[in-house]
Assembly symmetry: D3
Homo-oligomer: 137 residues x 6
Amino acid sequence: MIYIQRKERFSAAHQLYNPQWDEAKNDEVFGKCANKNFHGHNFTLTVTVKGEINPDTGFVMNLVDLKHIIKEHIIEAVDHKNLNHDVPFMKGKFTSTEVLAMEFWKILQPLVRDFGAHMHCVRLDETENNSVEYYGD
Amino acid sequence: MIYIQRKERFSAAHQLYNPQWDEAKNDEVFGKCANKNFHGHNFTLTVTVKGEINPDTGFVMNLVDLKHIIKEHIIEAVDHKNLNHDVPFMKGKFTSTEVLAMEFWKILQPLVRDFGAHMHCVRLDETENNSVEYYGD
Amino acid sequence: MIYIQRKERFSAAHQLYNPQWDEAKNDEVFGKCANKNFHGHNFTLTVTVKGEINPDTGFVMNLVDLKHIIKEHIIEAVDHKNLNHDVPFMKGKFTSTEVLAMEFWKILQPLVRDFGAHMHCVRLDETENNSVEYYGD
Amino acid sequence: MIYIQRKERFSAAHQLYNPQWDEAKNDEVFGKCANKNFHGHNFTLTVTVKGEINPDTGFVMNLVDLKHIIKEHIIEAVDHKNLNHDVPFMKGKFTSTEVLAMEFWKILQPLVRDFGAHMHCVRLDETENNSVEYYGD
Amino acid sequence: MIYIQRKERFSAAHQLYNPQWDEAKNDEVFGKCANKNFHGHNFTLTVTVKGEINPDTGFVMNLVDLKHIIKEHIIEAVDHKNLNHDVPFMKGKFTSTEVLAMEFWKILQPLVRDFGAHMHCVRLDETENNSVEYYGD
Amino acid sequence: MIYIQRKERFSAAHQLYNPQWDEAKNDEVFGKCANKNFHGHNFTLTVTVKGEINPDTGFVMNLVDLKHIIKEHIIEAVDHKNLNHDVPFMKGKFTSTEVLAMEFWKILQPLVRDFGAHMHCVRLDETENNSVEYYGD
């Protein structure tokens, strides 16, 4: 078993808030992240895939294929978008890095399996100091 | 003459568009940056100040003072904000990195002069690949 | 289960030596790190916490809270300090990154638990090439 | 148990191809990596070693020793080399990062054991976006 | 006058040698860079362009256009190539970073001028420690 | 004229204080940098040299030579040292980055000239946010 990683980037706006709370409660919990005019980040997405080495290629899977999967199914949907309003799979969900990472995992898992590999980790860096890692259930 | 630099960061949303153009023209010129629901970035602001070394301190000016000036007068105003809607000094202006850098310069120049130093450069990195530098007129 | 990370930095002086050895033995084992006038580093501390996502916030715990815990209980104690002389919880201990990481874990574990999360890893980078990770017992 | 890491770098040329395939098939599978005149990278090698803390030093093992092992046994063999032609332990093997990481592990494992520690991970970054991790069998 | 920068990357093989010298002299001057089987790097190319701000866009020139120019005219020609054998504009020239930067400048200068801007600097990083900057004649 | 850069690193302890001031005044001006037990940093030193390209090598000067000059004459003197007590050329001087950069310039200038090149800039990064640049008189 060996692990390969591909890193991609996207820039997006978002707002953290709970629609069941009033503005004061949202401000108290989410602070400046609750700004109703949105703020934004350069996000870095790192996808780790695991599998056996293919004896014909020396690869677990071709990182060019992994790059294309991530770009087509994730980056296209989120880059230069508003995560609260423009992204179908985030509708009605918190746009925290935790939830984003879990939603990205759900999208990527079957696609990676089609290449004979298995998802290991979705990592999402929101700033150079804040990040999240999800390894599936 | 010696040059000292301080780097600070902020995360903000913005939209690039010309209000005198229709949506099609804005999309043509600004592409995905014209998204009307905004997108965002982690911006890195690097301020370079020049001056003589103070013989009592070995400093051009104390970088702690430069940090406080930048934080109080720039970062407070733009961090976790929408650059098109929440920032008084950007009202009615393009929120391109070029214009942001020039507006930051105007704010910082008199404040730095009060510490016996002179502005040399405002650098603003919008992504790890795109940046701008302004050295004054 | 999902993992969130917060990175903080501190700058400190230290010396590696075993007080039960003479200077020659210390120099042999610790090399230039045994310099009795001290040397120093910019340390990067990365704390990883794990837990379930809170359905009211989309967070494992608020990274702002994790930041405050780390700053108040670790960074305050070690930043711009001499790790051999100025830090109560390091008294009589080696100031290697291994021991530092383990001591930081002991301090952070109960504090993180108060926020309903669990410590997963303390990582400490001493230089861009040397680092340590501790995952508890 | 605690984990320590040492990062080293090397620059090398390589070509990805399967000698049992014709040029068209190699181009189809390996794309521009199949260029028969070679291409190259700055590789970053990160070796993680685990063990107990030595009560006489506060170290798992001295990172200076780990640095010397990596430099003498890996970097000397691969830096400024052609991985397909100049490196004895890669003869007849794919020079993918996956295979390189596994071969580096085989070389390092007994050497690290001589210092009372155990190999945990070999990580190899080929570009800032592509990397591999191997944790042994 | 304001300066904007775009960073692109490429991976290539090369060899440093003077064909008028014998192998011993090449080894003496170029050391391990003279390896006749080539070595390689991940190069980072940073292009700085200067100009006035366009009052209709807030841009000196659109960085998307600068990106396309660099990708089409430079990166296409050098990425995953052997700089000594595969690149028409480097034929018969040293493939040092100095010469590469000057050749890149010659190609980019007229293309940037077509967008109403002016070349300011070509920077080429060969490793994280070695780089070159060229500002024209 | 073309510019080449070499980056080297060192780790050192220091204290900022003016011996003609009492402790209260030192604390007021230098803050936590005045800690009498010292603190420390990983410093990054970037030396930029300018010159014409040598037609026999394609180099301004060999970066391997520049590396050796910097390592032998600067890094040897300051790495894992106390800048206030262990470094002959800093005796009686402030150990601010400004003064360090100017002293490094004085040492490097004649050495670089012996290789037919000219000093352009000494840059010293003390943390990832604070740095200084000196271009000579």
